[in-house]
Symmetry: C2
């Protein structure tokens, strides 16, 4: 298995290589096999209790992407990148969602829902005490965002996380509201343009000693 | 550069290999070079505006880790794993923090704070309109968590994200409150124990078609 692992030096190299792309090369498309890995980085992302309080909308239709542009502070990455992912939460996660997850767990692990009753009750108890479930779900979505961008970087694929968009407009245009989902963050993926001058600017980070402390 | 990249197949393999470790092998320690890459996955994590509203506390002292155990629902990963990271937000991010970041940007990019006045004003305007800055900072921390766990997986290092801990107790024991930080999420890293039966259980995820939609 060790032949598939990334070395620490390669990991640091790719983390340094990554930046928030300002201008994508709209002529370059992510190959299918590479996209499958990115799709799986979302599907396989960890979440609290494994509940997966999310759905990922990949917008391929160019006309729809054009409509989103004006609700994205005209950030051209939304239309130029190979792929555009809108990461959404399932709104108002409740006992029904927990039951759906537990049913899936029983299916995957070859057991019964009854056998998982203790775990089900524990999750429902937590959810019942959670005073802002949508916010908790949103944090989980940011784990998926992180896993997706990092997986992309390790494969040499560019991304640009975008919080600057009008979420209610996205929900309306993509039909998310009707489905019970809400857009939280957007992330195009593809290839940086040779003209993007931000690609070669030094990354601005505080010194390691300023953000990492050892106790 | 292509020799340092991960193939899509290897990426999927490692994402499948990753799971939330229940029992770490306390005898195995992450080598220094590998830890450096993990440390940098935190330092180099993307954040909104690049503001880095965070600090990462690596708890090495065994006595302190023992103290944290009872405030972590006795989850033994907190004491058994090679490394324990507490991901914290800088509380109440304000104009002073923005100024600190802009000063760093001017330093790294070899320009002046005055030349960045427009960008500074834009960020401060956003922060001023943000009605829950700590929550926004917390979401950024979850990006760092995702990048850290994914980088670990790609290098064959195990992790276990933990939300189940008493944050005020962590803040007190680690002295975070006095520094203006607050613990948000915890993530031990190391090596799975051969006795952890969860390692071989099939991962419970909804079907790809149920969580990824193409528009």
């Amino acid at each position: 298995m060790s032949d598939v692992l990334l070395s620490p030096e390669a990991a640091i190299h790719q983390l340094q290589w990554r930046y928030a792309v300002k201008k994508f090369d709209s002529s370059k498309i992510i190959p299918d096999a590479t996209w499958t890995a990115l799709e799986q980085s979302l599907v396989l992302a960890p979440s609290s209790f494994g509940l997966q309080p999310w759905k990922f909308f990949v917008v391929k239709n160019p006309e729809v992407r054009s409509q989103l542009l004006e609700h994205s502070w005209n950030q051209a990455q939304v239309v130029d990148a190979s792929h555009l992912v809108v990461l959404a939460i399932k709104k108002d996660m409740n006992d029904t969602d927990v039951d759906r997850y537990i049913a899936r767990q029983a299916e995957v692990h070859g057991t019964t829902v009854d056998a998982l009753a203790g775990y089900t009750g524990m999750i429902k108890g937590f959810m019942g005490r959670n005073t802002n479930v949508d916010n908790w779900s949103s944090r989980q979505v940011y784990i998926a965002l992180g896993q997706y961008m990092t997986t992309a970087a390790m494969m040499g694929i560019d991304t640009c996380p975008i919080e600057g968009f009008i979420a209610p407009k996205y929900d309306e245009i993509l039909g998310l509201a009707a489905l019970g989902y809400a857009a939280i963050v957007v992330c195009p993926a593809g290839y940086r343009s040779a003209e993007d001058k931000y690609a070669t600017m030094p990354k601005v980070r505080f010194a390691t000693d300023d953000v990492v402390a050892y106790i």
